[in-house]
Assembly symmetry: C2
Homo-oligomer: 202 residues x 2
């Protein structure tokens, strides 16, 4: 389809609500006739800039308890069971760099969904090389070239630039959806609204 | 209707998203066959306990900018135009005490919706006596008896007890909906889900 409207999908690999969106966005976007641009970034520097040293779900325990319950309910409605990993939030630096190394080759989305499933449906740690390896293979990528590429200055710079761009757009959490006309929608619960806006405008 | 399931609607008068829910909850609850129990409380002590000295929408400017935009979009879908008041967040202490003074007489919900409209549809300050007065009259209450009642030790104690109960339920923001079986739903965007849970359970 030529000239399909584009929706930017800004996500953080350590984020539960980003996972919920990653596992359903392509089907919904396809139905809406919208193209999704997958844009992993790091929330850590954005949280740190506002004085948070960890996830708000750890800093504010009631909010954290609620989040796990809410995520489980939402996932359940989509037929998914959430497995809470031992480590939360996880270190997502290598995951994000690997994903951006696969941008041109096209395996960025498939790698991302495989990794989200590993983390929040199987309880794995995405900072571990074996977990990253399996997700790369699942996405049809070659770990032997993907890992070195992820450590290149170019890819490291890409992630820094994407995170800076997210910050300059006013993004403060993940997932955030941004339409072609610059409208922001924050949270998995705004995905449908974002797609509708991308398609038809306000 | 006897034995209708009950949904507790915990709200804070200074909260924009509480306003959105207040202005639509009765119609949706009626359609779902659910009875709403209106429970005003104060978020201030709960925010203070986690180190916040103001609304998170003021503490985190990007989050605040987004909130006003999101609230305007959501209100627009319901045919409402939001007017941003000069003061935000407003002092809601007297408003909450007045509302609780009207619990038995039955004008608590009508007073609350009138006050939310004054604040976020007309940009008024709900700490002002004239604004409170008008909302009381609109709800069919007598200001000459409502104000003294709101200053009684009994009503002051009610508000403290309600806020303590909210805290002990794990409530960390507003609006929060709580079903008879103790399920929490946070945010105007969870209202439909909360009503459905109250009606049918999970």
């Amino acid at each position: 389809m030529p000239n399909r409207p584009v929706l930017d999908f800004w996500y953080e690999f350590a984020s539960t609500y980003s996972c919920l969106s990653a596992l359903r966005i392509e089907e919904l976007a396809e139905a809406a006739g919208v193209a999704v641009r997958w844009r992993p970034f790091l929330l850590g520097p954005i949280f740190a800039a506002q004085g948070w040293t960890s996830s708000p779900f750890n800093l504010y325990p009631n909010k954290g308890r609620y989040m796990w319950r809410d995520v489980a309910r939402r996932a359940g409605r989509n037929g998914l069971a959430i497995v809470r990993p031992e480590v939360f939030p996880q270190n997502s630096l290598v995951a994000a760099r690997l994903a951006l190394a696969g941008r041109e080759a096209g395996w960025l989305p498939a790698f991302s969904t495989a990794l989200f499933r590993a983390q929040f449906c199987e309880g794995r740690n995405i900072a571990e090389e074996a977990v990253l390896n399996a997700a790369l293979r699942e996405a049809g990528a070659d770990p032997a070239s993907a890992f070195p590429a992820s450590r290149s200055e170019e890819v490291k710079g890409r992630l820094k630039a994407e995170t800076e761009l997210a910050k300059s757009l006013g993004i403060f959490g993940a997932p955030t959806f941004v339409t072609g006309d610059g409208e922001l929608f924050w949270g998995d619960d705004r995905l449908e609204e974002a797609l509708s806006w991308a398609k038809d405008g306000r």
